[in-house]
């Protein structure tokens, strides 16, 4: 009790200072805080919340101190055991010896105990092995004579010491942790499970380490007669030595975590009674082990048996499950996130009121803003770990509210404060809080990323002659990078110039733009930029552009202003020279873009991308028009699907050569001409013949291609002709084939042309497609190949015609940015 403690950290984290007696060493200040409180017992004059936080912090220290004391006692006992063995003395003598040695070494007894244990631990495994080999008569007696009674007793002492240490911990869980860290990791193992065997043949997971908490919870109980690795291990005296778990096909805890790894399950028994099984998992396949290792594992199993002997399996209704199912799922989720995440569960007081949240789990990405190791934060209460959460940031209130209402909360640039040895450290973070079942998921992204990018940025800044700055509006703290001092012509040791004093360093004529810049930035709190002439102390004038943005907290208050100065002196004169030219260019550009817009509007007006459906009995008609991606490439594609007075349906797609307003105009002429001509009731060959004359006599001698068909709904026939255009494609069942290439010259090339006609008889469910070559055109293949590809796309015909056309457009492998038309009919 009277021991001053400095417990060993099993995970090798930073030591927790737990003592109240010696003032803890003042931690190195990582920040040049303006007024740090050197006396840790006195808070800087903070708000009442700060005072409260300090109290909570002190209380939590006391709790930890008590825990550590218990651990420390166990360690002293352990060291005593070691001394008993080494010196061959009694326990009381060992205790005296420990105290004396500590005094001589000017160490606390605990520190000395740790030293003693460390020393012993260095050769622990070999000792265990040797001892057991000796005890079982297969090896030599290698123990020192100092030990008095030889190897057998040495082994017994060691086991007892380990056992006492293990029993000092409050549950088998601690034994599992200790086993894994101290004995099994050196053997390459990654996880351990200690199973308690029930009298009914069931197995209960009494403790585990190295498995995910969720996995351990899933495996907390294995009913009788379920063949698992552990179950097999229980029935065979020699245990199970498995090279690779995957090969056995046996289920076991952590199977997905270490699928190919080796497994060992050995029975844990004392005095002829089996109490359970020790199961060890390796991350990689396990080769056959030498007898020494086998003996070690058996010795460890026996150690487990001692702890299991006293293990009381939880009764059905008695103990509450250690982890709620909601939290388990959430922990798995948290582990999959790339941002630091905490799983919080409510912590109620005796009266059932919510007083705090327990940090049930922190994920791998978790980084404590105060830099504490994960293990310290995990398991703690939220207000204990982050007393300042109750402060201005209202983090705790947010969590409480999310828990109460289920309404998620997200915020950017929230300021988080953590208290590290009474020094409040703040970090800015993006926060997300959401409720899942009975648990709360808290995610934060500390803006440390920025720091990591900073060095990269610095290189870029040097190259671009960019000087970066950051100004804390609250503290007045200003940070400049080296480049900015250079731009100002000041030594890097000088004091940075605050933004507000900028006018004093600029040419008087530039006062107005600088004033506007500062007003936008600081008053309106919006990003701003300005160009001005910087007058340096050495008489040099530089043309500078400054850009800056405000960083606000969640309440919209200005926290920080950051930005950059860029030296544009060289650029400046070039720009002046360019300005005149640019004016001229802008005018031309404007004309061009207006022209393109006009063309597009024209096209849309004539041929809306989506058209009202045409109603024909027993026939679905669908059309698609996809304009070219670049406005300038507005093309001359057209489609038409219209019911004629003679009850035939005119179907047509066409393509005027070229792009732009001329092509679009010709398209309008041809499309309307065909509509008009079709009313005469002439056949498709004749229609195209006439249309050729129209095209030929259009000014500008356009050429165009088209395919034109007349569908007779009564007979289900399509009579069609083509003018230099790709023939329609008929999709019938699983087949998709182009119709034959009937003769037909493209439109407009010759004064008179004749067009061959063909007729195709359609059947129910047939689909017929007409399209322009924007759908298939590729530079690297022939029309044949492109067509074959297209046909393979349309082959598994989707259920509706609209889907069919959409799919064609989606999967078109065309590589030219051309406009595209499709007309499709399906006989229904």
């Amino acid at each position: 009790m009277s021991i001053s403690e400095q417990p060993r950290e099993p995970a090798g984290g930073e030591p927790r200072d737990v003592s109240a007696t010696p003032p803890p060493p003042v931690p190195p200040r990582t920040r040049a805080a303006d007024g740090p409180a050197d006396d840790p017992s006195e808070m800087p004059p903070l708000s009442p919340v700060g005072r409260l936080a300090a109290t909570v912090d002190r209380l939590s220290r006391e709790v930890r101190a008590a825990q550590a004391e218990a651990e420390g006692r166990a360690l002293i006992e352990l060291a005593k055991g070691i001394l008993v063995e080494r010196l061959g003395c009694g326990p009381a003598q060992a205790a005296r010896q420990l105290a004396e040695l500590a005094e001589q070494a000017q160490l606390t007894p605990l520190e000395l105990a740790v030293d003693v244990i460390n020393q012993a631990a260095r050769d622990r495994m070999s000792e265990v092995t040797d001892a057991f080999l000796a005890a079982t008569g297969t090896g030599d007696d290698t123990a020192d004579d100092d030990a008095g009674d030889g190897g057998a007793e040495s082994a017994a002492v060691r086991l007892r010491a380990a056992e006492s240490g293990a029993l000092a911990a409050d549950d088998t869980q601690a034994v599992a942790d200790a086993l894994l860290e101290q004995a099994l990791r050196p053997l390459g193992a990654a996880a351990v499970a200690i199973w308690a065997a029930g009298s009914d043949g069931s197995l209960t997971l009494a403790g585990s380490a190295g498995f995910s908490p969720a996995e351990a919870t899933r495996w907390r109980y294995v009913p009788p007669d379920v063949a698992t690795v552990a179950r097999r291990g229980l029935t065979e005296r020699a245990g199970q030595w498995i090279t690779s778990l995957a090969e056995t096909g046996l289920p076991s805890v952590g199977r997905h975590q270490f699928p190919e790894g080796g497994r060992v399950a050995v029975p844990a028994g004392t005095g002829g009674r089996l109490h359970g099984v020790l199961e060890i998992a390796w991350p990689v396949p396990l080769a056959p082990q030498p007898p020494q290792v086998v003996r070690q594992v058996e010795a460890l199993a026996e150690l487990c048996a001692h702890t299991l002997e006293t293990y009381a399996p939880p009764h059905g209704a008695g103990p509450q499950p250690r982890i709620l199912p909601d939290a388990v799922e959430l922990m798995d989720l948290a582990d999959g996130l790339h941002d630091p995440a905490l799983v919080l569960v409510p912590h109620l007081d005796g009266a059932g009121h919510l007083v705090d949240f327990r940090i049930q789990h922190v994920n791998r990405r978790f980084l404590d803003p105060a830099g504490r190791p994960r293990a310290v934060v995990g398991g703690a209460l939220l207000l204990e770990a982050y007393p300042m959460a109750a402060g201005d940031s209202e983090l705790f209130q947010r969590v409480e509210r999310v828990y109460a209402t289920g309404e998620p909360f997200r915020a950017q640039h929230m300021s988080l404060t953590a208290l590290v040895d009474q020094v409040p450290l703040s970090a800015v973070a993006d926060i997300s809080i959401s409720r899942h079942g009975n648990a709360v998921l808290l995610i934060w992204r500390i803006e440390d990323e920025a720091a990591r990018l900073a060095s990269l940025l610095q290189h870029a800044q040097r190259l671009g002659r960019i000087g970066g700055f950051e100004e804390n509006v609250l503290t007045g703290e200003i940070t400049w990078n080296g480049q900015l001092f250079d731009l100002y012509g000041r030594p890097p040791t000088s004091i940075p110039v605050p933004l507000e004093e900028l006018p004093g360093h600029a040419h008087p004529d530039d006062a107005v733009p600088i004033g506007r810049f500062l007003r936008t930035l600081l008053h309106h709190r919006r990003p701003a930029s300005a160009a001005f002439r910087l007058q340096r102390p050495d008489g040099v004038t530089r043309h500078i552009r400054i850009v800056a943005e405000p960083v606000l907290d969640t309440d919209g208050r200005l926290l920080v202003v950051r930005g950059a100065y860029q030296d544009i002196s060289a650029q400046h004169w070039t720009e002046v020279a360019l300005a005149a030219t640019r004016d001229q260019l802008a005018h031309t550009e404007q004309q061009a873009s207006e022209r393109a817009r006009l063309t597009l509007q024209l096209q849309h007006a004539i041929m809306p991308p989506a058209q009202a459906p045409l109603r024909v009995p027993d026939l679905q008609v669908a059309v698609r028009y996809r304009p070219a991606e670049t406005e300038q490439l507005v093309g001359g594609d057209w489609y038409d699907a219209v019911m004629l007075p003679n009850r035939l349906v005119l179907l047509c797609v066409g393509d005027v050569a070229g792009h732009g307003i001329e092509a679009a105009t010709s398209m309008v002429v041809l499309r309307n001409a065909l509509r008009g001509l079709a009313v005469t009731g002439a056949g498709p060959g004749q229609l195209l013949s006439w249309l050729n004359i129209v095209a030929h006599h259009l000014t500008g001698a356009v050429t165009a291609t088209a395919v034109c068909g007349l569908y007779d709904p009564a007979r289900r026939t399509l009579r069609w002709a083509r003018a230099g255009h790709l023939p329609p494609v008929l999709v019938r069942g699983p087949q998709a084939n182009p119709l034959p290439l009937v003769r037909g010259m493209l439109l407009g090339a010759v004064a008179e042309a004749a067009y061959e006609e063909a007729e195709v008889q359609l059947a129910a469910e047939d689909t017929l497609l007409m399209y322009t070559d924007g759908l298939i055109e590729r530079r690297d293949r022939s029309v044949e190949e492109s067509l074959a590809q297209l046909l393979s796309t349309v082959r598994p015909a989707p259920s509706t015609l609209d889907q069919h056309l959409d799919r064609l457009l989606t999967y078109s492998r065309s590589d030219t940015d051309d406009d595209t038309c499709i007309v499709g009919i399906r006989v229904g």
């Binding site: 790709l726 090339a749 042309a753 022939s782």
Partner: protein
């Protein structure tokens, strides 16, 4: 924009005084069509009336290339003269058939065959080259 690895090469020889044989090599597409057109315009300017286009080394032709052929066809027809396409690759032949250009512009398998057609046309003297 232009595909530099496939520049168009056009070689011009004169089997007759008024007959230009243009041997084209490379992709005949939107990037190269203008160059091809310059060659043809040049020959028109020099008084050639018959144009034999050896397309055996043209693996690909798009609508721009085809429009050039149609344009020279229209100009030659008014002279009167003619345009002949000689041994096009299958992909080009397909385009010619697809667009119906081969209905109007005769396709020959060799320079000799094309020259024979030119001679036959000149024999009928000024008759329309195509029915």
């Amino acid at each position: 924009m232009p595909i530099a690895q496939n520049p168009l090469s056009v070689e011009v020889t004169l089997p007759r005084e008024d007959v230009a044989l243009l041997t084209v090599e490379g992709y005949l597409d939107v990037d190269t069509a203008t160059e091809f057109q310059h060659h043809l315009a040049n020959q028109l300017h020099h008084g050639r009336r018959h144009f034999l286009l050896d397309m055996s080394a043209v693996p690909f032709m798009d609508s721009s290339g085809m429009n050039i052929i149609l344009r020279v066809y229209q100009e030659a027809r008014d002279l009167p003269g003619s345009v002949h396409i000689i041994s096009p690759a299958p992909a080009v032949r397909r385009i010619l058939d697809l667009t119906g250009v081969s209905i109007t512009v005769p396709v020959s398998q060799s320079v000799e065959e094309a020259l024979a057609l030119v001679d036959a046309q000149q024999a009928t003297d000024g008759a329309e080259p195509d029915a």
